[in-house]
């Protein structure tokens, strides 16, 4: 099951060729290394695009979003078995 989190998180990312690539995120005092980006997609929030990343970290699945207008990252949801 997915658990909706929707909390702002700190993210270490690199920017390659006009694209954001999350490498690690910090959530509730823990650091999660992004092992793999499984899927990327975009959604719109008003006129601004939101970039979504479905990632694997510490053996579990997480969905992060990046708001390129406000330069903030959110942990959208996590997979709980």
């Amino acid at each position: 099951m997915y658990e909706e989190i929707k909390e702002f998180v700190e993210v270490a990312a690199v920017f390659v060729g006009g694209k954001a690539v999350p490498k690690a995120f910090f959530w509730r005092g823990r650091k999660y290394i992004v092992e793999k980006i499984n899927l990327e997609h975009q959604e719109r929030q008003g006129s601004d695009p939101l970039f979504y990343f479905s990632v694997t970290a510490a053996g579990n699945s997480y969905e992060l979003s990046f708001d390129s207008h406000n330069l903030v990252w959110k942990l959208e949801r996590i997979w709980t078995k």
Binding site: Y2, N38, L39, H41, Q42, E43, R44, Y52, S54, T56, N60, S61, E63, W79, K81
Partner: protein
């Protein structure tokens, strides 16, 4: 020389996207559904779930009974639409003529591509292989498609149905009859449940039997559609691949509206859709246009005749909408535009009456401002306007 038409059908599209996003779902029976899972329907089943008999459109409890280990995943239409857009971009790198058939299906006319013939399958197979590879590289390896290649859309679609997942099938003169005769009647695009039942009631159960039926019998039973059914048995389809214009340069009248939150309230969504259809239609009439192609966010359909009638646009839009998933964004548009010729008004009395009403509605709206008059069915939009973002109205309803 024959045309070369390719049909690309994404395999268990929504479910594959979810399996791609989350490796914990890969290889497992999953069902993409609305929220909450109970009292919802299956919008898409994974390949693994289909083996248990789980099908889209089934209620979630029915699906769970067939497959107790079934994992339900809430669907996200915005995600599927975005990824479809990326798929279409890939397809357009291979052919300028891409007809978007649904959110997960498209036709490509590849006739003009170098060395592309049906008799020598090397080149079409190479193109299909490249498309498959690019989808894997750019979207993800779990997102697969079945590709059918043939001389027309009917046969290309039939071919793509032959092997799932990750299929690649060609129908050419060598195997045409074998392919047709081994197909079930409802394998053909255009023979739905109703038509199938009708054919069976006439004692027609196989393609071989259908070939024996005189055209007159079929037109008597099915009207205009009778000729299509007659042609199907022989693999004939004269409809060309028509490039869908979805680029920003394509002129269309369209409106979208983002709801404040997702809803599964069909009545509410239909009301918004009607409101948007009326809005688009009114702009078309102001600028003197009619349009033949109606599109929603995920699908489109072309009408035999151009229209600028909001109700007619809405009715097509409603058929195109997928109500199995909760809706956040509602959109409708009309493209394939023609300048309306004032002299060639319709002679059909009903149509004339409808046009008269529309003209008078426009008149009132011109006089008293937008939304002074609108169809009663759009009322819920306004009576619940706090639930709908982006609509402002000066009118008050109690």
């Amino acid at each position: 020389m024959d045309e070369v038409v390719m049909h690309i059908d994404m395999n268990s599209y929504f479910a594959s996207v979810e399996q791609q996003a989350n490796p914990h779902l890969a290889g497992k029976p999953i069902a993409v559904s609305g929220r909450p899972y109970i009292h919802s329907v299956v919008a898409a089943a994974s390949i693994e779930a289909k083996k248990f008999g789980v099908r889209s459109g089934m209620s979630t409890w029915e699906a769970k009974k067939l497959c107790p280990g079934l994992i339900f995943v809430p669907g996200n239409p915005a995600k599927y639409i975005d990824l479809s857009g990326r798929l279409i971009k890939i397809f357009r790198d291979f052919s300028p003529t891409v007809e978007i058939f649904s959110i997960d299906e498209a036709f490509l006319d590849i006739t003009s591509l170098d060395g592309c013939t049906l008799s020598d399958r090397v080149q079409p197979f190479r193109i299909a292989g490249e498309i498959k590879q690019r989808i894997k590289d750019e979207l993800g390896e779990k997102i697969t498609c079945s590709i059918g290649i043939a001389k027309n859309k009917l046969l290309a679609k039939l071919a793509s149905e032959k092997k799932k997942p990750d299929g690649l099938t060609i129908i050419n003169e060598n195997n045409l009859d074998a392919m047709l005769l081994s197909s079930k009647l409802d394998d053909f695009c255009g023979i739905g449940r109703q038509t199938l039942a009708h054919l069976q009631a006439m004692g027609i159960y196989t393609v071989a039997q259908l070939r024996q039926v005189p055209l007159e019998c079929l037109t008597a039973a099915f009207g205009r559609h009778g000729r299509d059914i007659f042609n199907m048995a022989f693999g004939i389809d004269n409809a060309p691949v028509v490039a869908s214009d979805t680029g920003p340069e394509a002129k269309s009248f369209s409106h979208t509206l983002t709801l404040e939150r997702e809803t599964s309230d069909r009545k509410q969504v239909e009301a918004v859709l009607l409101y948007l259809a009326e809005k688009a239609a009114r702009r078309m009439r102001q600028e003197g246009f009619c349009g033949r192609t109606i599109h929603t966010l995920t699908a489109q359909r072309s009408l035999p005749q151009a229209t600028s009638n909001g109700l007619e646009i809405y009715k097509v839009g409603r058929q195109l909408m997928n109500f199995d998933l909760p809706v956040r964004v509602v959109g409708i548009g009309v493209s394939n535009l023609v300048k309306k010729d004032r002299t060639s008004g319709s002679w059909l009395p009903e149509v004339q009456k409808e046009e008269k009403i529309i003209t008078s509605l426009d008149f009132v709206n011109d006089r008293f401002g937008e939304n002074a008059v609108f169809r009663a069915a759009t009322l819920p939009v306004f009576s619940r306007d706090r639930r709908v973002a982006g609509i402002r109205t000066k009118m008050r309803f109690n």
